[in-house]
Subunit: 254 residues, 2 copies
Amino acid sequence: MIKVVLLGAGNVATHLFEAFQQSNEIDVVQVYNQSKNRLRSFKERVSTTTNLKELKKADVYIIAIKDDAIEKLSNQLPHTDRLIVHTSGSVSINSLSKHNRHGVFYPLQTFTKGKEVNFKTIPICLETAVITDYIILEKLAKAISQAVYNINSTQRKALHVAAIFVNNFVNHLYQKSNEICEEHKVPFEVLHPLLLETAQKALEMNPLKAQTGPAIRKDQKIIESHIKNLSTQQQKDIYTILTKSIQETHGNKL
Amino acid sequence: MIKVVLLGAGNVATHLFEAFQQSNEIDVVQVYNQSKNRLRSFKERVSTTTNLKELKKADVYIIAIKDDAIEKLSNQLPHTDRLIVHTSGSVSINSLSKHNRHGVFYPLQTFTKGKEVNFKTIPICLETAVITDYIILEKLAKAISQAVYNINSTQRKALHVAAIFVNNFVNHLYQKSNEICEEHKVPFEVLHPLLLETAQKALEMNPLKAQTGPAIRKDQKIIESHIKNLSTQQQKDIYTILTKSIQETHGNKL
């Protein structure tokens, strides 16, 4: 049984709590949060506190709060001999280095409040200073997920940027696509099957090989007519830069 | 029973042929192609020809060939009193206007050779010059798909550009993301669940509301550190232009 204290009561903390509750190998002994209000939903299910001095003894302390508050909270923790980890994709393990036992427990997924997630398929990226602590985190991660990876801080930083490309930026392209549809009174749902097929294809084959369209065909006539017909400078800029990048990428490799 | 002649033997023609074969309401009476070689796979299942003068009588003639060859082939057809349609997202209905009965039958999906598709969920966008022909195309489309839309040429052109955003451009972002992972020896599969969740979310809610990340949070410190750490000018340009576009889009709407 691994004893866990969760520090934080936001989206990530809540989803981790629910996942840990499903496992017989994990015992969440306490949830800490600075403000009492956000602890309400935990109160009847687990011991809670707003006082760091009242933290219970546990095998792992998981800090699941906003990136820029992690270091400060970590410095306020009264222990140096316990395993302290954060859950951030972009904060270095070194921000916890005041504690001689520290690590990272980073679940790579977007968590939406109120929307249930299946943790079994969510990748968890682990990093520790020493191997003995890695074994503890690995046991913890494998109790809730089938996708556990050893990822160091440099890799995690790269992974976080790569995640921004497939999540934030892709979503923005969806939005621009939706915008173009709305301008012409075409329902965006017409594009839903294509959108999903494009994503599913990327899981099956290298996206480099899946590339199609006027950019890779170097169909300059179509490209120019598309740019001319787009209604905003933003749309034109995005179309131009991505077409250029596709052509450069594939020009080099052909 | 709707009688169909298919003109073309490429990806779209092949997939349409297979879908039509599944339906009791459609009879593909002939497949035409300029070159004999590509007709081989059809030969044992349907009448084939390489001679336009031998075209059989049918209710609909579907031209499923490359965009820039459509008008030429259409002009070579010996009839003016039959319903001639093409399957292209970017060619105007007017390229068929020599024929007094003309239309568009555009299935909006990426077709990969050898990969089976479920036509039932593929949107088919229809356009005709007169309503009586629309009724024929609608019957044909509904025999193979549950998603049939009336889309005029201006709308179809916009839809085609919008499709480039969710397919070609999104796939290129997947590829850049993959590239960043490879540079840091991180398996791209770590990002698969996030990639798929991002796509699925776009089917459930407006992508405008689903936007997250440092760009919309205006987290300038993180943004600068990301751009600094990207290894190629392409990656930096894409990161910069999409971040700018997210901020402008959401700055205006906040």
